[in-house]
């Protein structure tokens, strides 16, 4: 045990004394989350929208004027039928359409409530949700104005419709995606490089010619990166909740548990890579290429898996981050518990066990 602890301490020395490692370990996640954070929260200006005004009365004109004055919208033209709206969406010239039904003003003043429909092109879910939020804010603003004049509260009901991607999968796609990406990249890269470095420096030779159990070499390599990754995860979570308003609706311990599973999975993968390579560059290349691309492609946060051809969907099943991504979304956004995600958890755990077993079995107790 004393040996093990000394080894772990040595690994921490390696990390803290190498500025490059520190930068990679903590700089990259922060940079990524901030980058994606701004991509997500960036204001959208001058989006082209259309208004379909069946009512054409004083209330609708007032709202349309308000929309015009907003710097976010650029009202292209007023059209008069649903058919035209659909055509405009299909050509991709507009992002949003607002439809006022007949007798909008009458309904508002006589029935005390009226409806307005907002239709958004949700194939780009981030833009769609931002724009609908802007539009409904403006309409709510008008409602508040009316409240100042009238004593009876008048209600405008906005009916938001997302077309092309009605479930709006992708609103909070980035944070869980970046979490998977960062944890995988950092862990795989760090472990593989740190073991290969021992080979390259020749220290592995001495370690092998010692009573130290090779399995302990592996484990003591994994421990520091496991804890550093948890620190990383905490940074990501703090940044994404404060910077991007990402909710954590589910249990935080469960989130950490699932993340630990992914970290272990990544560490085992890193060990496996370090077994088959002899230079730090090769280890780095394999980790980057072998991790970055599949994670980006097949996790589902960049490209929806449902839209992929069948063979690619099958390949995606072999990517650990896909399962992690599902569990994280379920926990953070839907607030679900373990009962809803036990299947994904089990798959992830299975992958981890498999990779760990293979990498320990493949660990070379000799040089060649």
């Amino acid at each position: 045990m004393r040996q093990f602890l000394t080894f772990v301490r040595k690994e921490f020395y390696h990390v803290f004394r190498d500025p490059k490692t520190m930068l990679l370990l903590f700089g990259m996640p922060i940079a990524q989350i901030i980058l994606f954070g701004f991509a997500l929260t960036n204001e959208i200006k001058n989006s082209t929208i259309v208004v379909c005004d069946y009512s054409n009365d004083i209330a609708t004109h007032r709202i349309i004027d308000k929309l015009k004055f907003s710097k976010n919208f650029d009202i292209q033209k007023k059209i008069l039928s649903h058919r035209e709206i659909e055509d405009a969406f299909k050509t991709g010239t507009i992002k949003l359409a607002i439809v006022f039904p007949n007798n909008f003003n009458d309904d508002l003043h006589h029935l005390n409530k009226a409806q307005v429909q907002i239709i958004a092109d949700a194939s780009d879910p981030n833009t769609a949700s931002t724009l609908t939020a802007y539009a409904s804010n403006i309409i709510m603003d008008y409602q508040r104005e009316l409240l100042n004049i009238n004593s009876i509260p008048l209600q405008i009901k906005t009916d938001v419709r997302m077309i092309y991607n009605p479930e709006l999968k992708g609103v909070y796609n980035f944070v869980p995606g970046v979490m998977a990406l960062v944890l995988l990249l950092v862990c795989v890269l760090m472990t593989s490089v740190s073991i290969v470095r021992e080979k390259e420096m020749g220290t592995m030779e001495i370690l092998l010619v010692s009573p130290f159990n090779p399995i302990l070499v592996i484990l003591s390599k994994a421990v520091p990166y496991f804890f550093l990754s948890l620190v990383n995860l905490t940074i990501i979570l703090i940044l994404s909740t404060t910077l991007m308003g990402m909710p954590i609706n589910g249990s935080i311990p469960l989130l950490y548990f699932e993340s630990s599973l992914l970290i272990l999975c990544a560490l085992s993968l890193g060990l496996l890579i370090s077994n088959i390579t002899d230079s730090q560059q090769a280890a780095m290349l394999i980790s980057l290429m072998g991790m970055l691309l599949p994670t980006m492609m097949f996790t589902g946060f960049m490209f929806p898996l449902e839209n992929m051809p069948m063979p690619l969907q099958i390949i995606a099943n072999a990517i650990p981050s896909k399962w992690y991504y599902i569990t994280v979304k379920s926990i953070m956004i839907k607030g679900l518990g373990i009962s809803a995600i036990w299947k994904e958890t089990l798959i992830l755990a299975g992958m981890t066990l498999f990779l760990l077993a293979v990498s320990i079995k493949k660990f070379k107790i000799r040089l060649a």
């Binding site: 020395y13 004394r17 020749g202 030779e205 001495i206 092998l208 010619v209 010692s210 009573p211 040089l367």
Partner: protein, 304 residues
């Protein structure tokens, strides 16, 4: 049973294309200082790695401290100290941290075996808070030796410990080895420097994976078959050429400020004839003297 025994060890690389160790057998006695002498690429490192259980031989058997290198590798790893040819400590850890780390890896403490490394460690102790990567070559070697000794090994394997180390440090290093030998540690050391061979008790001359001769340095020198002469003149490069073309000269090698030569018939009369020939070829200030061969002379002789 001798501490190290090799029987017909063969090791090839690239699926048999390169023969690194070719049917090597020798043994090292308890407490002996044994030298493996040969140029780069002779197979010294391969032999060391086989004995330290880092590589498996293609064929042949070997034991270290009575344990089989294949089946009982775990026992060997507890008993031996190994210092690879390349400086192999953690460059980003300090001297003290390195030593502490290796002491712990071998399940011991610096204190426990301090008497063994004291002579060496006091020399690097003033730098104990310095990172190992920032040490000079000689210091690095001393630190590496300390780390290899920290668990009081039975057998010590030193792979080219003096390569890239200055002359003074080299001399000091060999003195340290002699002191370690007195502690009863069996030492197997390899070196490409022939002048270090005489500092070993017994040596094996190795070339292209084959052992050419194993004996004490004195005996190897004695076995030199011919009389050896050293010769110099005012124009050494021309002299080398002329000597090699001379009918009396059997072999001729440049050797520092002299050329070393042997004669065809090993007779004194030839030396006079040679000097006459050289005078005719306009060589001036010729000195010719009979000398005792060195290990390097023996090595060159064996190579041919």
């Amino acid at each position: 049973m001798p501490d190290v025994v090799l029987n017909n060890i063969v090791k090839t690389y690239n699926k048999g294309e390169i023969k690194a160790v070719d049917d090597v057998s020798f043994s090292v006695k308890d407490g002996e200082l044994f030298g493996l002498i040969g140029p780069d690429g002779a197979g010294k490192t391969s032999i060391f790695r086989i004995l330290t259980t880092l590589l498996l031989p293609d064929s042949g058997t070997a034991t270290v401290n009575g344990f089989d290198i294949v089946k009982e590798y775990k026992s060997i790893r507890k008993k031996v100290g190994y210092m690879p040819g390349k400086f192999s400590l953690y460059q980003d850890l300090t001297v003290e941290e390195n030593l502490n780390f290796f002491a712990t890896v071998f399940d011991t403490t610096i204190k426990e075996n301090y008497d063994l490394i004291r002579d060496i460690y006091v020399q690097i102790e003033p730098f104990k808070d310095r990172r190992a990567g920032k040490l000079s070559g000689g210091m690095k070697q001393k630190l590496a030796l300390c780390c290899a000794l920290i668990h009081r090994p039975k057998v010590l394997f030193l792979d080219e410990p003096t390569t890239g180390v200055d002359t003074v440090s080299r001399k000091e290093f060999w003195e340290m080895l002699k002191r370690l030998k007195q502690q009863g540690i069996t030492i197997l050391v390899s070196t490409p420097y022939m002048d270090e061979a005489t500092l070993c008790e017994r040596i094996a001359l190795i070339q292209n994976g084959k052992i050419m001769s194993i004996d004490t340095p004195q005996n190897i020198v004695k076995q030199f078959p011919e009389k050896l002469f050293a010769i110099k003149s005012n124009s050494m490069s021309r002299l080398l050429h002329d000597l090699r073309n001379n009918r009396h000269v059997k072999s001729c090698f440049a050797f520092g400020e002299y050329h070393h030569i042997t004669f065809e018939n090993n007779s004194e009369t030839e030396s006079n004839q040679l000097i006459q020939d050289l005078h005719l070829q306009n060589h001036k200030e010729i000195t010719l003297k009979h000398i005792n061969p060195t290990i390097e002379d023996c090595f060159i002789n064996l190579m041919n």
